[in-house]
Amino acid sequence: MFGAGGGTSSYAEVEDTDFVLLWGSNARTAHPIYFHHVLKGLSKGAKMFVVDPRRTASAKFADLWLGIDVGTDISLANAMSREIIAANLHNKEFIEHATSGFDAFAAHVDEYTLERAAATTGVNANAIRELAHEYATAPTAQILWTLGITEHHNGVENVLSLCNLALLTGHVGRWGSGLVPLRGQNNVQGGGDMGALPNKLPGFQDVADNSARAKFESVYGGPINPEPGLHLTLMFEAMTRGELTALYIIGENPADSEADVDHTRKLLAELDILVVQDIFLTRTAQLADVVLPATVGWAESEGTVTSSERRVQRVRAAVKAPGDCRHDYEIIGELAQRMGAKWTAKTPEELWNELRSLSSMHAGMSYDRLEAEGGLQWPCPNIDHPGTPYLHGWLWEDDLGGHVPAPFSITRYEGPKEQLTDDYPLRLTTGRALDSYNTGVQSSGYESPIRSGSHLEISEVDALNLNLVDGERVLVSSPRGRVEMHIKIEPDQVTGLTFSTFHFPELVDLNLLTNNEWDPLSGTAEFKAASIRVDKLPIGTSRG
């Protein structure tokens, strides 16, 4: 809503903030390094409220945990907005100065009463009121979120409803206040920044923008298609229709990671040609016609990565890659050359300087500066610019720095696409464990003393109703598939909610169950909300 996609704040800000609202994120487990910054903030006296269907390891550090029902985030956020306005705690001066659409927004959220939110979220009205008041009255406050917000069919609306809270209270564009989406990998931010988005060129320049395209065409030495490409989910739909028949996958393992994964594997197997570039022979790579072995980004490659706080940092090769592995940029460059392109930049630094000439937000970041200053945060438009610790400071400038006011967004509560039914009466949500990473490509090769495999975590009440004992192996079914797995009874688990990781697809193919309803704006599937049933295995069939 404010423009380029990036966290607004620096890591250090959460150490100085007064209030942390951790929403749909188990950062303690999934972002352990970032959470150390959070813990410093808490030690210095910040309060933390956690909104999450599960009482996660992060929630155990919370002053108040609100265990909302899966997918009811907008209901909660809108009720908070309504309460903040009703209690006259909104920042009227800021709203007047820096935002637009407040009146329509206020009218829209008026129906989201505390009582209604309590009914939809399952959290009592007093707790919601307390959260709204604490957030609004804190001198500085940050909202941190991850996939609990975005892995829904309406993930973008979820994000926008959180942005509304920041605009309402002025908790953005200042040190210690902001909106912080935590990224799952060291370079997710960098991928988007470098144009790995279907409608963007590097530096978030639009492919439809003729002058931007012309600039890139002159350097790349060839025409660029002005039509936006497809994002992942649309690609699979195009495959289903037989329109997309050739696929080049770099460092992604959709044969394990996609929701409704059985369907995905069929599509990949039916392609005319599948090329996979990866560091391991993943399940996806096993389906490929051509596998291009690549170097590991962290230890075997030269270049830069960009963290969630928009900090571009140098990475260097520490060891020589084994066998015939080659750097990603070499493989892509050689392919481009075979296809007739005449790229002049050969080394990572030459490539980087080429980017600096094309993307103004990176223009000031020379390798020398990145080295000397421990990385720089974009935007950094010229060699004398210090980089930008937090975004949207213009919201507080007299003339808004020439920007148009930031708009409030109208977001409507819908709930998850897949509602619970008598046949599938339990909610399944998914997440990560501390010592594992996504489908396990990069983590299952290592042993960990705390790894416990994929269990279906289930409440005491549900286990009792289903006559299950802790550790029992059960049949778990969704409308799309079924898997056998062991249950783990969690004392803090809310009745009706189940949870599992999907780190061990070889053992438990959990994404057979998950829902591929996806957000039309982000292309992200609703991993966080499937409906399932749990059945005892017939006597004698349990494999123990």
């Binding site: 030690s43 933390m48 919370a62 108040l64 609100l66 265990g67 909302i68 399952g122």
Partner: protein, 579 residues
Amino acid sequence: MADLQFGDARPDGEEIKIVDSFVRKTAVVREGERVIRGGITRRHEQRHLLLPGLHLLQNSQGWISPGGLNYLAEVLQVPPAEAYGVATFYDLFVTEKPSTPGPQHHICVDAACAMAGSADLLSKIQETGQRVHKSPCLGQCERAPAMFIQEIGAPDRVPADADDLFHPQRGDSSLRLLRRFGVADPVSIDSYLSNGGYDALALALNIGSEAVLSALEASGLSGRGGAAFPTGTKWRAVSEENSSSKHVVANADESEPGTFKDRLIMENDPFAVIEAMTIAGVTTGSERGWIYIRGEYPLATHRLNHAIEHARASGYLGSKIAGSDYSFDIEVRRGAGAYICGEETALFNSIEGQRGEPRNKPPFPTTSGLFGEPTVINNPETLINVLEILNNGVDAYRSVGTDQSPGTKLFCLSGHIRFPGLYEVPFGVSLGELLQIAGGVVGDLQAILMGGAAGRFVGPENLDLPLTLEDAAANETTLGSGALMVFSHEVDMLEVTRRLAQFFRDESCGQCVPCRIGTVRQHEVLLQIGAKGPDQTQRELLDDISAVMGDASICGLGHTAASAIQSALDLGLLPSGAS
């Protein structure tokens, strides 16, 4: 800050009952299935209940079981590994199931008790099949050999507490600090009131904070724990701190071997300590008082708790004390057998439910003390001096003693002295005169250990030494806590120094390297020294250890862990001449 991962050990019903009855406000509160209140602030607020909780488990079960510890840690939301670290820090807590459920007898093996035959007492009890534990000084040196008993389900006890107070100066009209000893009934607030009690508080409320601070500064009162820091300066610093929460702490963790003055004050004049703390509270703007008393002082603990209850009932504690606008109340916290907790910052950590390890200074307690808040910390002897200054005025107070050491001082005499006990004399009385007051040396004087284990030995040639802060310093010795342990020629001083070295080896908290390793090496060298005394290499080694501990330790324990031994070497109390 750690995640809370609790082990599988489960508490039994009794342990659950004990913990639940004690912790009324749990760190985690469930407000329905989907709302749970918790957080770091609540964890921190509850953490100080760990030490009293461990006391309850120890007392009810005779040890702290893994299940009981787990449960207490869970209720308080303390990481169990940290709770275990705290439980194992203290001598009085046992984390392995004892061989028999019978009482545990702690028998002092430090110098004064060793001279009085503690070894015999120990073997006598051992022969009956009962449990014994060799203890460091129990603070009963005037009635050695000392014993302290823990028993399941019964209050901890000291058998000698049944005896009447021995007060060698009884009837002496010149007494100031001890004047109520044996005169006022220590369990009656009316008796305290009719013997001048609470006159000083009334005066302090009347003249106001600034006048009290000025009087203290003019009096020249300095801390009686050994460091001799000016009390008025300390109080003023806290009164000037701008903080919504401040504390007054009585450091009653009297553990310096040979010292028992604070125990006798608390047993015989408990209201005086409470009144003086209350004056500190109103003068410095502190509303919370804490008495940290060593765990081996059951009678003093009982008397203080009793006195606090009665003071509260009579309006001298609580809100609007003595009809004023001030609020002040006191909690008593028991230590659990750790010498180091007498170090003021270790004491704060102990109250806070951490291991009793000293902190780096600065920051000093006046700015960042208990719970990180401004704190006045004084020992009971220092505190009751405040009453004398206010009741009689600065001039009267300064009318005895010397210019730099005004007033009187309490001395604890033990060992080879005719009438071991607590004596109050004006500063400036000579060492020899004090020994005469106490009936004289029994036998042929070899040496006197001044200031306890952290002090220094002096020989018979020092009997003319005037007992003042300035004269002690000029003679490179110290009055320390006022302990004077007398040794005749019967005593093998090598054994005494070995025991001192072992004491520091046992009591070092292990936090800093110079002290952790130095105290062990020092003890080892003394064990190696034969009948001929230290050779040159051994002497150099002891000197080096002393220098490193003195220069580089975090706290006073390490700084002074070699001082008595060094002085014994310098005085030739150990055999010498080996090569």
